[in-house]
């Protein structure tokens, strides 16, 4: 029976959670979109396609990091996670519920930005490219979900928002998501090439036809990055014992 499936129950719970906390949901969705409108469409005209790819990466990464990181840290402090671990719900279902929220955010952010880029930035793409962009950026949120999850399991609820911002904003900037990394000085460019958001943006730029990417290399970097945080998540889950 469907209702008994814990994954679906936790997805439902997450959906209700998002609906009932518009003060969290709306800003998280609108912040990256507003950012793109200001910088991608109003200030730097003529770069709408490139900046759509990079700012959408930025938005998706933010949704993934924050919907996992902050809430996991808080729920851990409240003892909710400990309770879940004691319950028959498998750990996968707990993660699925949260991953659902982050992916939903990712899709909504990419679609909103795409619509704005088409309406005000003269961006024109084949239908397959529009879907490809939404697809790669939603799936590309997964490694950042794992990163948020791991950080949420290891950080205290007070530290989580601050540390996440400290990771999120520089990571976005250094990966060339605000200003293309191609205008960075050489040494900074080589830093960008080591950062996972740079590689997610590279895949998006490839799909949009802005710059071709080395798919094997970029997927490897994103995969390894996801793996590191998956391990950290597993370790964090094991040491879970209320507030530490």
């Amino acid at each position: 029976m469907i209702a008994a499936n814990p994954s679906i129950q936790l997805v439902r719970a997450q959906w209700l959670n998002l609906l009932r906390t518009p003060a969290y949901t709306l800003p998280t969705l609108l912040f990256p979109v507003m950012f793109y409108v200001f910088f991608g469409l109003m200030m730097l005209r003529g770069q709408a396609l490139w900046l759509l790819c990079t700012f959408a990466t930025f938005g998706v990464m933010g949704a993934a990091l924050f919907s996992f990181g902050v809430s996991v840290a808080t729920e851990r402090a409240q003892g909710w996670l400990l309770l879940l671990r004691a319950s028959p719900a498998p750990v996968g279902a707990v993660i699925a519920g949260k991953a659902f929220g982050a992916l939903l955010f990712a899709i909504i952010i990419v679609v909103m930005m795409s619509a704005l880029a088409a309406a005000f930035g003269d961006v024109r793409l084949e239908t397959a490219q529009w879907f490809g962009l939404a697809g790669i950026l939603s799936l590309g949120a997964i490694p950042f979900c794992l990163m948020g999850l791991a950080l949420g399991l290891w950080l205290s609820p007070n530290a989580a928002p601050a540390v996440l911002n400290l990771v999120y904003l520089p990571l976005g900037f250094l990966s060339g998501l605000w200003i293309p990394s191609t205008v960075f000085p050489g040494w900074l460019q080589s830093v960008a090439e080591w950062l996972p958001p740079y590689h997610l943006a590279a895949l998006a730029l490839d799909i949009a036809g802005a710059r071709s990417a080395d798919w094997g290399h970029s997927l490897t970097v994103l995969g390894l990055f996801g793996l590191v945080f998956a391990v950290m998540t597993a370790l964090g889950w094991r040491r879970l014992s209320g507030v530490s």
């Binding site: 439902r12 003529g46 899709i107 084949e126 939404a134």
Partner: protein
């Protein structure tokens, strides 16, 4: 259950939005016939001709062509049809490519920009699909000395270290997609400054490397000695005319013997020699519908210290005249992207200044069509003959008599599709 419906609705909404998002531009893909029009085909003038375009290319030009049934016909009486113009010196960033296209400039030869999106740029110019952007060829990064001209714009520039590594430097540019190699020879002396610059050995090595790899090498110069050094080093073209001294006989002899071509870039020289942009360029109907406020602002700017050099301005036109009379090939270029210039209008400014210096209107138009296409090996561009790209400008008037009428643009076709004016594109800026 309610939640599942809500989730499904959000996802369906996202899918529906993605399906509704616009695809690449589509224009009229049938046959278009422009009838009874005066044609400049890149070389000469044909009166009262019919021009047929289909599938993005020109399919017929002649006096008594039969127009196929179902063709869209356009009355060309009293109008002149030109090949899409080529600007042989720009710096394309921001909205450059749409701005240029609105004024009939359908191909841009960039002389320094970041090559990041070069693969896309190349794909786009190979396509015959309708577009709202001019096609672009580019030098990518330029070759300059550490701290030299070209490093002041905030874009990091890879520096060629020594003649021994010149080939490697050129190879890197070609990997990035550069179409030709641009070399800076600028010691600042023409502008009352001192700048580090590449020496002759370095320039020669770069030119040789470019030629061995089958691409052109062009040079930025601003003084006659630098121009001579560049020509001696074997460059294919100078992308500026110098204004520090009258062209001397030695230079003319060198230029003639070597076959080097020169892009005078008079609009940027005007802006750096105290000259303001003429009213006929920034006023009138074409300005309302085809030049944006941002472009007007660019056109009203000038370089620091520009007024102090205004006494030197007549020398610019005099040098153009002397080189032209000596038979040196001149290619029209604006250096748009700089203060006092704008993509599109400034190429028309260059045409008018070339005529003021002594070229005939036909010669000036060749300098913006056939000649750059030949110099840069651009196939199907700068020409209005069967087989050429249907990049066309319909002018209300006769620029072959009065070159300033070239701005009175009725319509611009890119890849056979009519492009939009600012008001049609809904651009209120």
């Amino acid at each position: 259950m309610k939640s599942l419906i809500g989730i499904s609705l959000v996802l369906l909404g996202a899918i529906a939005t993605l399906l509704l998002l616009p695809g690449p531009l589509e224009g009229h893909r049938g046959v278009t016939a422009i009838e009874g029009v005066r044609v400049f085909d890149g070389e000469r003038v044909i009166e009262d001709a019919t021009v047929l375009i289909a599938e993005g290319r020109i399919t017929g030009v002649g006096a008594d062509l039969s127009v196929p049934d179902g063709a869209e016909t356009i009355d060309g009486e009293g109008r002149t049809l030109l090949p899409g113009l080529i600007d042989a010196h720009v710096h394309a960033y921001g909205s450059a490519r749409t701005d240029a296209l609105r004024m009939g400039v359908t191909t841009l030869l960039d002389m320094f920009r970041s090559p990041a999106d070069q693969p896309m740029v190349i794909r786009q110019r190979q396509s015959l699909d309708p577009t709202n952007q001019a096609d672009l060829f580019s030098a990518g990064f330029l070759a300059t000395a550490e701290g030299g001209h070209g490093t002041q714009y905030g874009l990091p520039v890879p520096i060629p270290e020594s003649p021994e590594t010149a080939d490697e430097w050129v190879a890197q540019r070609l990997d990035e997609g550069s179409d030709y190699i641009k070399i800076i020879i600028e010691d600042g002396s023409g502008w009352g400054r001192t700048l580090p610059t590449l020496d002759a050995a370095m320039v020669e090595a770069l030119v040789e490397a470019a030629h061995e790899r089958g691409v052109l090498a062009v040079a930025h110069v601003s003084t006659q000695p630098a121009a001579k050094m560049a020509v001696r080093s074997g460059v294919d073209g100078l992308v500026h005319l110098f204004a520090d001294a009258p062209v001397d006989d030695a230079f003319i002899a060198m230029a003639r013997d070597s076959g080097v071509w020169i892009v005078p870039t008079t609009p940027v020289l005007a802006a750096s020699h105290g000259q303001s942009v003429p009213d006929w360029l920034t006023g009138g109907e074409h300005a309302e519908t085809r030049i944006s406020q941002q472009q007007r602002t660019m056109l009203s700017q000038s370089f620091p210290g520009s007024q102090m050099r205004s006494a030197r301005w007549p020398l610019v036109l005099e040098n153009v005249r002397r080189l032209h009379e000596a038979g040196v090939t001149l290619l029209a270029g604006s250096d748009a992207g700089n203060p006092g210039t704008a993509h599109g209008p400034s190429l028309h400014h260059e045409l008018a200044l070339l005529v003021e210096a002594g070229l005939t209107p036909v010669e000036a138009l060749r300098a913006a069509t056939t000649l750059p296409a030949r110099a840069f090996g651009l196939e199907g561009r700068g020409c209005l003959q069967p087989g050429c790209r249907a990049d066309l400008v319909l002018v209300d008037g006769n620029p072959l008599e009065d070159i300033r009428q070239s701005v009175r643009i009725d319509a611009v076709w890119k890849n056979g599709a009519r492009t939009e004016r600012r008001d049609e594109a809904g651009d209120a800026s």
